[in-house]
């Protein structure tokens, strides 16, 4: 199964950093997301896109994880040569992640 089966994600821009929020579709899946989505895994997922470190915040009462991806936007929205200068589609790359199934 894919991450998109158990979570939504939304990314946005903040200068040269991308922000990435992941919310569990079912709040009971929050611990599973917390275990799966380490900052290291997220950094690996965006290797070649995100040049800097990945920071993570946990918001258990919202069943949400929040990430800041440093040096992710080719100098920022206003300078970037990228088709998606805002990095808005980055969220979908994370949701495409294969995750261990329920069984």
């Amino acid at each position: 199964m894919k991450l998109r089966d158990i979570a939504i994600a939304r990314s946005g821009d903040k200068g040269q950093r991308a922000t990435l929020t992941v919310v569990a579709l079912d709040p009971r899946d929050f611990p599973r997301l917390q275990a799966l989505l380490s900052p290291e895994l997220v950094a690996r997922r965006y290797r070649g896109i995100v040049q800097g470190p990945v920071q993570r915040w946990l918001l258990p009462q919202l069943a949400a994880l929040h990430f800041v991806l440093h040096d992710a936007l080719g100098g920022g929205v206003t300078r970037s040569l990228a088709l998606d200068a805002h990095g808005k589609t980055l969220s979908s790359a994370l949701l495409d992640l294969d995750i261990p199934g329920d069984d």
Partner: protein, 447 residues
């Protein structure tokens, strides 16, 4: 105390107009806010004003006002907007003209200025945020410098009783916080309530992004009525807690998912969301379902405001040239790949091999680069070349080289588009509060 009803009529400069009209007509709102000023929009507007002193306000201002002013007058709803962009005074006069044309007698408009700090920035150097250079290094190419004003700058305008308040650069959540402070009489150092007010403002400032926009994932998250999304409103209590909702009968959905995704959208540290009026803390925010399309929000907190204000600097940084061409059918990916290879060689031949550029296939790897999914040969691809150039002439060459693939490239290329854009980049710095002096001017139609 009765709750205060505040809605959002636009979350960006190009947003839909009919949902705002619906809010004005059926929302029984106290205040309707239009947030239309992205980081770079004001720099672009400053350039227009430089060429024409009467220009610089939001181009859709009159259209939006025509759509909502009659209903707002009838319902006693006040309007707050940053559609003044680079010229709030001209925008204020434009609103008066719209009111006159609509026959709205005695319309009063308050104009808030003072965000333009270009003269100060030209005299005082300072460090840039996220950039090792200093402000002085940018001066020859500096187009604009606008400070993010806080809610405090809007309070005199609210106190004036004006029906419409027009400003330029004000922190987006402050457009919502200011009417709450004015209505409930929150003190400027009531950090707890100001923090919760910022939660409400941040939830509303992107309009439909909290009410079902930007959420649909067919098969996973269904959102009804995307063509008729209702824009959000908040019913705010005196302690700042609020119900986020939308109008009955409109499309979209307001629930835990839609509200959480917006709550954290484009925030860095959720414990320290820096605003001109308060450092807001979202980490204790609680959401509770409160009925269909209703979410109760509480628990926002705050700490004392920063000593400095953030300033966005508009800086000219050369040009970007771009061209695209499509290939379809069997072998499309290979032909697109060959096209990119030819384009790279052409850059070398033209002596442009050192330009920072991107050569990629839309449909394969343009969005996610190395993180793209490896898959079957797509039915069509679009080769894209974009390069950072020092001059407009150089940037035009990029598109021409892509266009030349019509007769000189792989078989079956079609649908070429080319573009050249001047890069108006945004840098940021901080200025002390005393560098910024907001002022309010009241405009009134002669009775």
């Amino acid at each position: 105390m009765k709750s205060f009803r505040i809605g959002c009529g636009a979350g960006f400069a190009g947003d839909r107009i009919d949902p705002a009209r619906d809010l004005a007509e059926r929302g029984r709102l106290d205040v309707l806010v239009f947030e239309c000023l992205a980081e770079r929009t004001i720099a672009l507007a400053q350039r227009r004003r430089r060429d024409d002193p009467a220009a610089g306000a939001d181009p859709l201002l009159a259209e939006r006002m025509r759509a909502v002013l009659p209903a707002c007058r009838a319902a006693g709803t006040r309007i707050v907007t940053n559609m003044g962009a680079a010229n709030p005074l001209a925008a204020g006069r434009e609103v008066l003209a719209v009111g006159r044309a609509l026959g709205l007698r005695g319309l009063r408009v308050a104009v808030v200025e003072g965000d333009d700090v270009l003269p100060w920035v030209l005299r005082h150097d300072g460090a840039l945020l996220d950039d090792p250079r200093s402000v002085a290094a940018l001066r020859p190419r500096l187009v604009s410098a606008n400070a993010y004003l806080g809610a405090d700058a809007l309070l005199p305008a609210l106190a004036s009783g004006a029906e419409v308040i027009v400003c330029g650069r004000v922190a987006d959540p402050a457009l919502f916080l200011a009417p709450l402070m004015h209505h409930f009489g929150w003190a400027a150092d009531d950090w707890l309530r100001l923090g919760q007010g910022i939660v409400v403002g941040h939830l509303l400032e992107c309009a439909a992004q909290v009410s079902g926009g930007y959420l649909a994932e067919p098969g996973v998250v269904e959102v009804p009525g995307l063509a008729d999304l209702g824009f959000p409103l908040a019913e705010v209590a005196a302690d700042g807690s609020a119900c986020i909702t939308k109008l009955d009968g409109s499309g979209g959905r307001v629930d835990r998912l839609s509200v959480t995704a917006q709550l954290l959208y484009e925030i860095e540290d959720p414990a320290r969301y820096l605003q001109p009026d308060v450092v807001a803390d979202f980490t204790q925010v609680r959401l509770e379902a409160a009925g269909p399309d209703r979410v109760h929000v509480s628990g926002g907190r705050g700490a004392p405001r920063p000593d400095t204000l953030k300033v966005s600097l508009g800086v000219l940084e050369g040009f970007v040239g771009e061209g695209q061409i499509s290939y379809g059918g069997a072998g499309a990916r290979a032909r697109g790949g060959l096209a990119l290879q030819v384009l790279r060689e052409r850059l070398q031949r033209l002596g442009l091999g050192d330009l920072e550029h991107r050569a990629e296939l839309i449909g394969v790897d343009a969005l996610h680069g190395p993180a793209s999914r490896a898959g079957a040969d797509p039915g069509e691809v679009r080769a894209r070349l974009a390069a950072r150039c020092g001059t407009r002439d150089e940037a035009e060459l990029i598109g021409r080289e892509v266009e030349a693939l019509y007769l000189n490239g792989p078989a079956g290329g079609g649908g070429v588009t080319t573009s050249v854009r001047e890069v108006l980049a945004v840098a940021s710095t901080l200025v002390p509060r005393h560098a910024v002096a907001p002022r309010c001017t009241l405009l009134q139609e002669d009775a």
